[in-house]
Amino acid sequence: MSEEIQTEYETEGVEKKFMFLNRKAPYGTIYALEMLETVLISAAFDQDVTLVFMDDGVYQLKKGCDTKAVNMKNFSATYKALGDYDISRLFVEKESMDARGLTIDDLVEVIFEDEDDDWAEKPAVHVKSRDEIARLMEEQDVIISA
């Protein structure tokens, strides 16, 4: 993306449904960070974007991450910016949360402004059942997975 192509020149063309499916824990491999960067870049193209977190991917949204002592970039903070990028759906699989003893209170808060509701601030992170996610997956045009 070059800086010259910005908001005033919206990407023309078809809006597709994109799902970014995250299944890896955040700091042990590079997958989670690479995916997050892909999501941030894709946000410039005004597509219908859903993020899903399942299996160890649910750990990506764990709050309270402090990477100072391991000398890594703390990109957990970056998920909180996704609302600014008009990403309004981060779905976390309930079964994966349960298996890891996590509840929504353990996860970072992501807030977005709802364009269709007078820019009201709303939470973007939601817990969804395996069934709901499976159904949603079938409706996608593109699934990007790591």
Binding site: S2, Q6, A77
Partner: protein
């Protein structure tokens, strides 16, 4: 490796002028980078620089231009929250040029 000279100290930067270690940033350094970019810094420039640094501190990324525009609009009003205003302040791009002066990495997805 190329470096900026600030108060007798060498601070390394990459081939495009972005800091190797963002922790090395200081106001004096920002002034030196701005000078190299041929920018006459005003309060309006510093508002943007400070905003970028606050954003990075909170989210660990430099915001995309449209995110910056939206945020500036919210904070300083619509006459400042637009592309034209930001490009007038930073002719080589609010993201690229302002981030460099703010000591941040180049925004993700920016070529």
């Amino acid at each position: 490796m190329a470096a900026y000279e600030v108060n007798g100290k060498s601070i390394e930067h990459d081939e495009e002028g972005y800091l190797e270690d963002i922790g090395e940033w200081s106001l004096d350094l920002a002034k030196i980078i701005a000078k190299e970019e041929n920018l006459e810094m005003t309060d309006e420039h510093w508002d943007v620089i400070n905003y970028l640094r606050e954003y990075y501190d909170e989210y660990q990324i430099a915001p995309a231009v449209r995110v910056l525009v939206k945020a500036i609009k919210k904070k300083f009003g619509p006459e400042k929250g637009n592309n034209k205003y930001l490009y007038e302040l930073f002719p080589y791009g609010p993201a690229k040029q302002a981030c460099k002066i703010a000591g941040l990495p180049k925004p993700t997805g920016c070529v």
